[in-house]
Amino acid sequence: MSRARGKVTKAEVEAAAASGTRDSAPASAISRRRWLALLGLLPLAAATVPVLEFLDRRRRPGTQRPIGGFHRGYFPNPVLRTHDDERVRLYDDLLRGKTVLIHFFYSDCKDALCTLATENLVQLQRLLGERCGRDVFMYSFTLAPDQDTPARLRNHRDAHRIGPGWTFLTGTASDLELCRVRFGFTDPDPGLDREKAQHTNVLLLGNEPHERWLASPAAASPRFLLSQLDRVAGVKV
């Protein structure tokens, strides 16, 4: 590495503390029983993490999250809506036990890379053939859930002549935001993080039961994407 020997005339002290969070809270309903538990814990509220740890233990006595695991427990399980207006749960219905492709988009995105991504995925789906919807499941999550209604997603899907095995998903803004953050489609720059188009050129390929995940540019060639999916699925490549 060049310039390894940069001169330090005046070393400066550590920068300001970390910036805040962009993580969003989930929006599922809260039961009366849990409310009671929460009320009982209010005096401890300032110590957030112990409270939440306590809740976690109360909720699932005797259970342990998998160590370093990225399946049940990591993924939230909000109810989303498909392009056919079906209700599906993120973890139970879409991820659990499956090899998946995760894509974020919004239907009126005019960005050339976003269009290229969709075209690439259409070709990838053709390459997958009947494996799509059987061995591999493709999911496109909207970044604009307020505009992208199930009907609009269906139109978008029809316009690209997309076949079965590739599901488009919408839902409440907070649920979709939770999905985006949990899958890591974020930018460390808060300004860019808010720009929807910033998250349209990355795909996440994952094998949920084996916790094998990797990211790939959405603009990569469909053949390469297929081989990457195979790597994740555990197929010899």
Binding site: G20, G184, F185
Partner: protein, 574 residues
């Protein structure tokens, strides 16, 4: 990051809504959680309080990885062949060994390196961590090789099958000897992976670049001498995960002057500190989950920063040192952090190498910088310190997130302490026979008349995806086809205004002709296998393509970035 993940999990498991949290006073209306521990996926490496379970520093001794012993070729099971030995289970080799005639089993060193599940102890206060290590140690065994004597390594994959393994990493490695002058088929190309139960033979001739040039034959150009190399996994898409799993080893090349013997009576011997005074320092930052096991955030796509600092596989170890000179070979084994290392007493060090290449002359420095994959050898003299002194190697590089370090350095008092040196007079030897010579080798000439082509590679990031010259990696595309025996100018441009890249180019070391259009400072001239590009920077390099044919890859050395296809392929053609 781990705490962020736990917090994310816990919020969901608790079934709390945003409104609930507001009512509880745990969330402000701007969406920030009030806890200092933070729920941000990106806050972890940003200088906040540590998230991994705390451990007591300076209670465990620095492990020094063993020097591998060559084995009898007869004990390898099957005799190495030029062609791919499919019948015996060899896989992943793209071509027959080049220059096979230069390999003579009777005059070569053979090693069997097994990639296997290893329960690593990063600290005695943490449970054992299931890792994948070379021959069962982290770092893997040191291979001590010598220029002019070939090494044949059989890398055998004893990892669990794809259908058995759960968790980060893919048990299909392709091992790259980083910084070597090696043939494509022995260079660990990311596509040349091997399945569990198979092996791949790497023939490392250890000849210096230029060995097929009649003017430089048979040994190659002494000015292309290599020193401190390392081997690591390079599996396409999974190298960061697999290196983090433990796929790290050391390959040290000696030569007629750097003989590895500080008592060498030969007048041409340099007598750098050797033996127990030649100590590798493998720097690797790591995160541990609440149960104390290694944690790799598969959903942090920017670059992984650990909050725990390990050296040679131990969190904050100590090393007792005698009052004399030591050669420390520092390696940044990633995955994403950049280091700027000082000694806590601001003592000067003598830097002798950069990127595994000897500097033309030793350089007195007060710190050295290591991007991911970089190596720097420094000689540190403890002779003037009183017995009982304690000093530290301190990382002063400030790096808020995976985008790269800031331009600011912490003061050594504020930095991250990596290792404690305890000066122990009881270890003193009778005198110190080691020396640091005034000079090593001059740099090989840069002859513009040899330049066949000039190429430019622009690294960029758009909409969250990485690209080189506007294109993501495609294994079916060869981006450059230099001809063997020629030289080229390669320009690297960082088009991003926010991300820093370190770009590694294998096969031969290059020399920098210009930084942002300016000639480098005289004392900055060196041979290198990587360039470090801050946002908006460009560099012009001169490189030769000698001796070997075949395909190679150039990639971003933040291993997370390169796994996301910040990479291009090139091929040396006849």
């Amino acid at each position: 990051m781990e705490t962020a993940r736990r917090n994310r999990v816990e919020l969901v498991n608790a079934g709390l809504t945003r409104r609930d949290l507001l009512q509880l006073g745990l969330l402000t209306t701007t969406g920030y959680l009030v806890t200092k521990l933070g729920l941000s996926t990106r806050a972890a490496g940003a200088g906040g309080s540590p998230k991994s379970p705390p451990t007591t520093p300076w209670v465990e001794e620095l492990p020094v990885p063993p020097i591998a012993s060559p084995i009898d070729v007869a004990s390898m099971g099957t005799t190495p062949r030029q062609g791919i030995d499919l019948a015996s289970g060899e896989r992943g080799r793209s071509a027959p060994h080049q220059h096979w005639a230069l390999y003579d089993a009777a005059n070569a060193d053979h090693y069997l390196i097994e990639n296997r599940v290893t329960l690593a102890s990063w600290h005695r206060e943490l449970p054992l961590d299931p890792c994948w290590c070379f021959n069962g140690t982290f770092p893997g065994p040191r291979i001590h090789a010598r220029h002019g004597r070939p090494v044949l390594i059989r890398f055998r994959n004893q990892l669990p099958g794809l259908d058995q393994h759960v968790g980060y990493g893919r048990p299909t490695p392709s091992t790259h000897v980083h910084g070597g002058h090696n043939a494509s088929e022995s260079d660990g190309h990311p596509l040349d992976t091997i399945e569990p139960g198979t092996f791949k033979d790497h023939l490392l001739l250890n000849r210096r670049a230029g060995f097929t040039d009649p003017a430089l034959a048979p040994g190659g150009d002494p000015r292309e001498t290599l020193t401190t190399l390392w081997y690591h996994d390079h599996c396409l898409g999974f190298s960061a995960q697999n290196v983090y799993r433990g796929n790290v080893g050391l390959y040290h090349l000696f030569n007629e002057s750097d003989t590895g013997d500080e008592n060498d009576p030969s007048p041409t011997a340099w007598r750098l500190p050797s033996g127990e005074f030649d100590v590798p320092l493998v720097l690797h930052d790591r995160l541990f989950d609440p149960d104390g096991r290694g944690f790799f955030d598969l959903f942090d796509l920017d670059g992984i920063l650990g909050d725990t600092f390990t050296v040679n596989g131990k969190i904050q170890p100590f090393l007792r040192v005698a009052r004399r000179k030591y050669r420390f070979r520092a390696l940044n084994a990633g995955p994403s952090r950049c280091y700027d290392c000082f000694l806590s007493n601001r003592q000067a060090m003598v830097q002798v190498t950069r990127d595994g290449n000897l500097l033309p002359r030793p350089l007195t420095v007060d710190h050295f910088r290591l991007a991911v994959g970089d190596r720097v050898d420094v000689v540190v003299d403890f002779s003037r310190l009183p017995s009982g002194s304690r000093l530290y190697l301190v990382n002063c590089c400030e790096q808020p997130d995976g985008r790269g370090p800031s331009e600011r350095l912490r003061s050594p008092a504020q930095g991250q302490k990596l290792i404690q040196f305890v000066v122990d007079g009881a270890l003193d030897t009778h005198g110190d026979p080691s020396r640091v010579p005034d000079q090593f080798f001059e740099l090989p000439p840069v002859d513009p008349g040899d330049v066949a082509t000039e190429r430019t590679f622009v690294f960029d990031r758009s909409n969250g995806g990485w690209s080189v010259n506007g294109k993501p990696f495609d294994p079916d595309v060869i981006a450059a086809r230099p001809r063997r025996g020629t030289a080229e100018i390669w320009n690297f441009v960082n088009n991003s205004n926010r991300w820093a890249y370190s770009v590694h180019v294998p096969l031969e070391a290059h020399q920098v002709l210009a930084w942002n259009g300016q000639a480098p400072a005289a004392d900055d001239a060196a041979r290198e296998d990587a360039v470090w590009l801050r946002p908006g920077e460009s560099v012009k390099t001169f490189r030769r393509f000698r001796d070997f044919l075949g395909r190679f890859v150039t990639h971003g050395r933040d291993l997370v970035h390169s796994d996301h296809a910040l990479m291009f392929q090139w091929q040396v053609e006849p």
